[in-house]
Amino acid sequence: MSEKAYGMTVGKKVGNGFMATILNTIMIVFSLSCIFPLVWMFYSSLKLKREFNANIVGLPPAPTLDNYKQILTNADYHIADSMINSVRTTILSVFLIVMFGFVVGYILARVKFKGNRIIWLMLLMGMLIPVHSLLVPIYIVFNRTGLNNQWYTLLIPYIAFGMPIAVFLIHSYLKGIPIALEEAASIDGSGFTGTLFKIIMPICRPVMVTIAIIQTFACWNEFSFALVLLRDVGLHTVPLAMTQFTGQFSSDYPKIMAAMLITMSPIVIMYFGFSKNIIKGMVAGVVKG
C-alpha cells in the first residue's frame, strides 16, 4: 500500500513525514522516560555523595563501586537479608498459590458437590474486597494468634489474596478443555488424584505459568502487609528494608540508588530476560481474569 497508490500530493507527503516525526518523537520520549530512572540510578550509584550533589545528572567523574561494597558488606543495612527473605517468601507463595489455585480451580470446574457455588462466591468476594480494609484487622488477628513477625507470616495473606485470581484463571482455562479426556482416564482406571496431577496438570501448564508470573511480581513488590505484620528487621522483605534504608540515608542519594538497584536486580533481570513472555502472561491474566 504505497503512498502513491493514494495519488497524494507533495504537500500531503511532507505533512505525513512531519506527522510521523511527531508521533515517533512522542513515543520515544515516553519509552526513554520509562527507563530513564534505571539508567540515571545506575550511573549515579557509581558516584560519591558529594559528586552527586554537585551535579545531579552528570556522568560520574571517577566511577566507583564504593556504594555497592559498603551496602553488601555492612550487615546492619540488612539488604542481603531482605533479599533472601523476599526470595523465600516469593518462591513459596507463588508455588502454593499456583498449586492451590490449580486444585481448587479444578474441583470447582469439574466436581459437582454441595458448597461448590458457595466457595465460588466466597472467592469472588475476596476479589472485590478492598485489600486495604484488611490491613488493620489482619494485624490484630495475627497479633492475637502469634502469627505475626515470623518467617512464614507473609505467606498467609499472599496466598489468600493470590488464590482467587488463580482459581478463576484455572477455571476459565478448563472450560476450553474437553471433559472427555478425564472421563477416558477414569475408565482406564486412573483415580481422581492421578488424573488431576498426571493428566490435567500438564495441560494447564500455560495458565499456571501465567499465574506464576503475575504472582511473582505481586509478592516481590508487596509492601503494606509486610509493613504491618513484620517487626524484626531481620525478617523484612525488600520494599520494607528499602524504606528503612532510605530513612537512614535520606541525603545520600547515590547510596540509596545503589541499594535500590541491588534489590531490584532479580526482578529487572527477569523482566528484560523474558519480557515477551512476562508481558504476554500479565496481559493474559488481566484479559481472561
Binding site: 506527522m19 527507563i35 486444585v103 474441583i107 472485590l128 488477628v141 481422581f192 513488590n221 524504606t243
Partner: protein, 293 residues
C-alpha cells in the same frame, strides 16, 4: 462436571487447607474489624464497648472524607492519564509510521513491574528541592522562579503524587489495549494515518467500539487500583503536608499504627470496605449499562 464424582472426603481433603487459609486471612479479619470497631481500644489489654460511637465519629470525620475525595481525585486523574493516554499511544503505535514498536512495548511496560515503593522513591528524588531533577530542569530553562519544595505545596501535592502513578501504569494499559487491537484489521489503522483529523475520528468511531470490553476491564482495574493506593503515598508524603495528600488506606494506617487507636482504626477499615464496595458496585452498573449500548 465429572459424571463419576470422587469421594467427598477426597474433595474435602483437597479443599481444606487452601480454604481454611483463605477464610483465616480474609473473612476472620473482616469480622474482627466489625467487632473491634465497636470498642474504644488503644491496642492494649483494656477496651471499652462504645457501640456505634466510632461510626458516628467516622461520619463526621472531615479527614476521612477528605481522604476519600483524594482517592476519587486520583481515580479521575488516572482514568484520564493511564487509560486515556494509553489509548492514544495505542492508536499511535498502530500506525505504520511509528518505528521501534517492540522497544516501546518492552520499555513502556517496565515501570509497572517494579514496586510502587520504588516508584515513590524515584519520584521523591525527582521532586527533591535541592537535589531533584525537576528543579534542575527548571534552572536549565531559566525558570528558577518556579523552583520549590514540590511535595510541600498543598495545592499541587495530590497532582504531584498522581504523576508517578500515571507514569507507572501507562505502559501497562497500553499493552492490554494493544492486545485487544491486535485482532483488528491492520488497514483500519494504516489508512487512518493518511490524514490526521480523520485518524482521531476513526479512533473514536471505529476502534473504540471494537475494544469496548477491554476498555471496561481497564477502567475497572484503574478504579479499584486507585481505591487502594497506599505504598506511593506512604513513601512520598505520608499524607502530608497536613492531610493534603491523605488517602483512605494511609489514614487508616496512621490512626491505627501511629496513633495506636485500633478501635477507631477498625471502624475506618469497615468504612474503606463499604466505600470500596460501593465504588466497585457503581463501576459495575456503569459498565453493564455501557456494554449494552
Amino acid at each position: 462436571m465429572l459424571t463419576r464424582r470422587p469421594p467427598l472426603r477426597v474433595i474435602i481433603g483437597y479443599l481444606m487447607i487452601p480454604l481454611a487459609l483463605y477464610i483465616f486471612a480474609v473473612f476472620i479479619p473482616l469480622m474482627t474489624a466489625a467487632f473491634y470497631s465497636l470498642f474504644e481500644w488503644k491496642g492494649g489489654p483494656n477496651k471499652t464497648f462504645i457501640g456505634v460511637a466510632n461510626y458516628v465519629t467516622l461520619i463526621k470525620d472531615k479527614v476521612f472524607w477528605l481522604s476519600f475525595s483524594h482517592n476519587l481525585y486520583l481515580i479521575l486523574l488516572c482514568v484520564i492519564g493511564q487509560v486515556g493516554i494509553a489509548f492514544v499511544f495505542v492508536m499511535m503505535i498502530n500506525t505504520r509510521s511509528v518505528k521501534l514498536k517492540s522497544i516501546h512495548r518492552t520499555f513502556g511496560f517496565f515501570p509497572s513491574t517494579i514496586a510502587a515503593v520504588y516508584v515513590g522513591f524515584i519520584w521523591t528524588m525527582i521532586y527533591d528541592s535541592r537535589r531533584g531533577v525537576l528543579n534542575w530542569l527548571l534552572a536549565l530553562i531559566g525558570r528558577d522562579d518556579l523552583k520549590q519544595v514540590w511535595l510541600n505545596n498543598s495545592d499541587l501535592v495530590m497532582t504531584l503524587v498522581s504523576i508517578p502513578l500515571i507514569w507507572q501504569y501507562i505502559g501497562y494499559y497500553m499493552l492490554i489495549l494493544l492486545s485487544a487491537t491486535s485482532s483488528i484489521d491492520k488497514e483500519i489503522f494504516e489508512s487512518a494515518e493518511l490524514d490526521g483529523a480523520n485518524a482521531v475520528q476513526r479512533s473514536i468511531h471505529i476502534v473504540l467500539p471494537m475494544i469496548k470490553s477491554t476498555i471496561i476491564v481497564c477502567l475497572v482495574l484503574c478504579v479499584s487500583g486507585n481505591m487502594k493506593v497506599f505504598d506511593n503515598i506512604f513513601v512520598m508524603t505520608s499524607g502530608g503536608p497536613g492531610n493534603d495528600s491523605m488517602v483512605m488506606a494511609m489514614y487508616g494506617y496512621k490512626i491505627s499504627f501511629i496513633q495506636q487507636n485500633m478501635g477507631y482504626g477498625s471502624a475506618i477499615s469497615v468504612g474503606i470496605f463499604v466505600l470500596g464496595l460501593l465504588v466497585i458496585g457503581a463501576m459495575q452498573l456503569f459498565s453493564n449499562k455501557f456494554s449494552k449500548d
